[in-house]
C-alpha cells in the first residue's frame, strides 16, 4: 500500500509543488564481459535496456553509471559515447549500474502542464454539459487521482491501485494547502510552494492515509 507522489498544479498549468513519497528503487550493479548480452538503445537523453532482461535488470532501465562513475545522459563521465564505449571489447570487463530513471524537475514541470491540458480536453470531450475534468487515470501499476478546486488549483496523487481513501486524502491536502500555504503571508499565490509546515503536514497526512491501507482512513 503506497502513495507514490503528490503534485499541485496552479491555474495556469504550472507545477507549484511536487513530492515523491516512494522508497528509492533498488539499482542493480553488475560486472559484464564482452559481448554484452543485453540489447541497449538510445532513448531521449539516455541509454536504456531494450531486450535481455535478467537478474533485476529490466527492460526500460537506464544506464546510470559505468565503473562507478555516473553517466551524463548518453555520455560517460569522461565524455565518451556510452554505446561506443560498450561496443569496444578493450573496455571489458566493465561494471554497469542499471536502474529506473528518475524524472528530473524539468520533466515533471512538462508532464504537469501536459496533464493540465489533457484535463481541460477531458472536460470538453464530455457529451454532458458542465462535466468535470479527468478524475482518475488507471494503469496496471498505479492510479492517478486528480481533484480540481473551484478556484482552479489541481491536486494530483499517484498511488497504488489498491489504495483506498484517496478522495478524502485529496480533500485533506486541499485543507493543508489552504492552511499552511495560503495563510502564510509570505507565500504569493500561484508561485511554487516553499513552506516547511506545508511539507511536514502533507507528509503526515500521507502516512495516515497509507497506514489506513485498503479500507481508507478510519474517520
Amino acid at each position: 500500500m503506497a502513495i507514490f507522489s503528490v503534485y499541485v498544479v496552479n491555474k495556469a498549468g504550472g507545477l507549484i509543488y511536487q513530492l515523491d513519497h516512494y522508497a528509492p528503487r533498488a539499482d542493480t550493479e553488475k560486472t559484464f564481459s564482452f559481448p554484452l548480452d543485453l540489447v541497449l538503445r538510445p532513448h531521449d537523453e539516455r541509454v536504456v535496456v531494450a531486450f535481455g532482461q535478467r537478474d533485476g535488470i529490466r527492460v526500460g532501465h537506464a544506464v546510470l553509471a559505468i565503473n562507478g562513475a555516473e553517466v551524463n545522459g548518453r555520455f560517460t563521465a569522461d565524455g565518451k559515447d556510452v554505446l561506443e564505449f560498450l561496443g569496444n571489447p578493450a573496455n571489458y570487463p566493465v561494471s554497469i549500474r542499471f536502474g529506473r530513471h528518475r524524472l528530473s524537475s524539468n520533466e515533471k514541470l512538462m508532464l504537469a502542464s501536459m496533464f493540465h491540458s489533457l484535463f481541460a480536453i477531458g472536460s470538453q470531450l464530455s457529451p454532458e454539459v458542465g462535466s468535470s475534468g479527468i478524475e482518475m487515470l488507471e494503469t496496471d501499476t498505479f492510479k492517478l487521482h486528480c481533484f480540481q478546486t473551484l478556484t482552479g488549483i489541481k491536486f494530483v496523487v499517484l498511488a497504488d491501485p489498491r489504495q483506498a481513501g484517496i478522495d478524502s486524502l485529496l480533500r485533506k491536502i486541499y485543507e493543508i494547502y489552504s492552511d499552511f500555504a495560503l495563510k502564510n503571508p509570505f507565500y504569493s499565490l500561484e508561485m511554487p510552494i516553499r513552506c516547511e509546515l506545508f511539507d511536514q503536514n502533507l507528509k503526515l497526512a500521507l502516512e495516515v492515509a497509507e497506514k489506513a491501507g485498503p479500507f481508507g482512513p478510519g474517520s
Partner: protein, 181 residues
C-alpha cells in the same frame, strides 16, 4: 471552525475582543495615515481583497460546498454559510434588480462594530467595515465571478440596518462562448 477529529491540535480560540480591537486599531491607524476618507476606504478594500483571495480556498476546503449554479445561490451561500463560518452571524439576502445580478445582504448584527457607536464628525464618509467588501470581492474573483461590492447602508452613519450590495458583473466566460459561436 470544524476540524476533523483525527487532528491532534489544541482548540485554538482567540478572543473576539482581540479581533475587534485589532480591526479597530487597523482602521484608526489608517485614519492617521490618510487624510481623505476615500483613501482609507480604498485601502481597506484592497486589504480585504488580499484576504478574500486566500480565504475562499479555506472556505471551500472546510465547507465542501458544491459549485453554485446561479447568482442567487452564490449570494445565499455568502450570507448563510460564509458569514456564519467566519463572523458567527448570518445575513438575509434580497434580490434588488430585475436582471437578477444585484443582491443585498442585510446584517442585523455586525461583530466588527460592537464597540463603535457612530463615526466622528470629520470621518463622516468612512466605510468602517469596507474590509468585508474587499473580502467578498476577492473571494468571488477567485471563483471567476467578477462583482462590485459596496456598502449601501451603514448603521454607523445613522441608517437603520447595515446593507452590503453585491452586483455581479458579466462573466468573462460568457464573452468567450459568444466568440466561439
Amino acid at each position: 471552525m470544524s476540524r476533523p477529529p483525527g487532528r491532534k491540535q489544541e482548540n485554538h480560540k482567540i478572543s473576539r475582543e482581540l479581533f475587534v480591537l485589532t480591526y479597530g486599531a487597523l482602521v484608526a491607524q489608517l485614519c492617521k495615515d490618510y487624510e481623505k476618507d476615500e483613501d482609507v476606504n480604498i485601502c481597506l478594500d484592497r486589504m480585504g481583497y488580499g484576504i478574500g483571495i486566500r480565504l475562499i480556498d479555506d472556505f471551500l476546503a472546510r465547507s465542501a460546498v458544491k459549485k453554485c449554479r446561479s447568482y442567487s445561490e452564490t449570494a445565499d451561500m455568502i450570507a448563510q454559510v460564509a458569514f456564519k463560518m467566519y463572523l458567527g452571524v448570518t445575513a438575509s439576502v434580497s434580490c434588488s434588480s430585475a436582471a437578477g445580478n444585484e443582491f443585498s445582504l442585510i446584517l442585523d448584527k455586525n461583530p466588527l462594530v460592537d464597540f463603535v457607536e457612530e463615526l466622528p464628525a470629520e470621518r463622516a464618509s468612512l466605510c468602517y467595515c469596507n474590509l468585508l467588501c474587499g473580502v467578498i470581492r476577492g473571494a468571488l474573483e477567485m471563483v471567476h465571478l467578477a462583482a462590485e461590492v459596496t456598502f449601501l447602508q451603514d448603521r454607523l452613519k445613522g441608517d437603520a440596518v447595515t446593507e452590503i450590495g453585491i452586483t455581479f458583473l458579466r462573466k468573462a466566460e460568457d464573452r468567450k462562448h459568444k466568440r466561439n459561436k
